[in-house]
Homo-oligomer: 146 residues x 2
DNA sequence: TTTGATTAGTTGCTTAAACAACTATATGTC
DNA sequence: GACATATAGTTGTTTAAGCAACTAATCAAA
């Protein structure tokens, strides 16, 4: 049996996620300073639509690791902001396909630049090798609990 | 100039914090299965009081990386659950000192056991060395943005 | 082809986060 | 001592998460 079965000391920060909270806050602040009036959560939905426009709400649930009510309401708010549109699927009338508006497409460049800038601020002094290991660990944790 | 100034690829998971969200959800689920009716956020406040009982709300803000209104309301809810008590400081009448009740003291052992168990589930297959590096990276990120 | 189960999405409710605006107390300076 | 400033905590508002309960559409099996 591996050592990992036993107590590993001060792992509390894994649970509270102070670091990712801090990054999210900083990114939100950077959005605000650039007069971008979207939340990080809204941005995270747009992020997946920029990668692939036209996804069902269920696909967005899976992509963003959120439950259905959360996506319903995020899409509600994004629709109010005229950043996405719900388009009922013709094949399957249960499904809403979510599409970006022109406005949302225009947000991509600026916000991704701010996101990269924020990550660089956050990762000052961390080597690429260390970042890779951290990413791997977080991925394994996610997969273990999924 | 270091490489870290440049784009580092798929770092999105750092921002959304999927892994820490997953751990928090799993711990919440494990609490529920053991009929422990507290939230992870409430537990995180208790955690710091178990380390040192009798802290001001401001100290709890610093310890838990939350703002003052958040702590006000968490303490409100913990008081409703009869897990903590606000005691006005005699030296400084602005300050509330927060103390654990007997009930809360009794929660420590069981919940910490569940927390360790949850971390072990999460970290299956991750070596201690990797965990150490991940912790260091998260700490640097936190310090960079603090 | 009808019945039962599954899938997609919505609504209601409680808890919490973030921010601004506020009250009350304490401190420091002239 | 009086006034400005800082500190501790509260309240109001918006956004979001998580869970349960719900509707509507689809699928599958007899």
């Amino acid at each position: 049996m591996s050592n990992n079965q036993f107590k590993r000391g001060e792992l509390y920060s894994f649970i509270t996620g102070k670091a990712s909270t801090a990054i999210a806050r900083r990114l939100q602040k950077n959005f605000k300073q650039s007069s971008l009036d979207i939340t990080i959560e809204q941005w995270s939905v747009l992020y997946h639509l920029w990668k692939k426009d036209g996804q069902s709400q269920q696909q967005l649930c899976d992509a963003t690791f959120r439950d259905k009510p959360s996506i319903t309401r995020l899409v509600d708010n994004l629709e109010k902001l005229k950043l996405v549109k719900r388009v009922p699927s013709k094949n399957d009338r249960r499904i809403n396909m979510i599409y970006l508006t022109k406005e949302a497409v225009n947000l991509q460049e600026k916000t991704m630049e701010l996101a990269n800038q924020t990550l660089n601020e956050a990762l000052q002094g961390v080597s690429n090798g260390q970042v890779e290991i951290a990413k791997e660990v977080l991925q394994v944790v996610y997969d273990n609990l999924k």
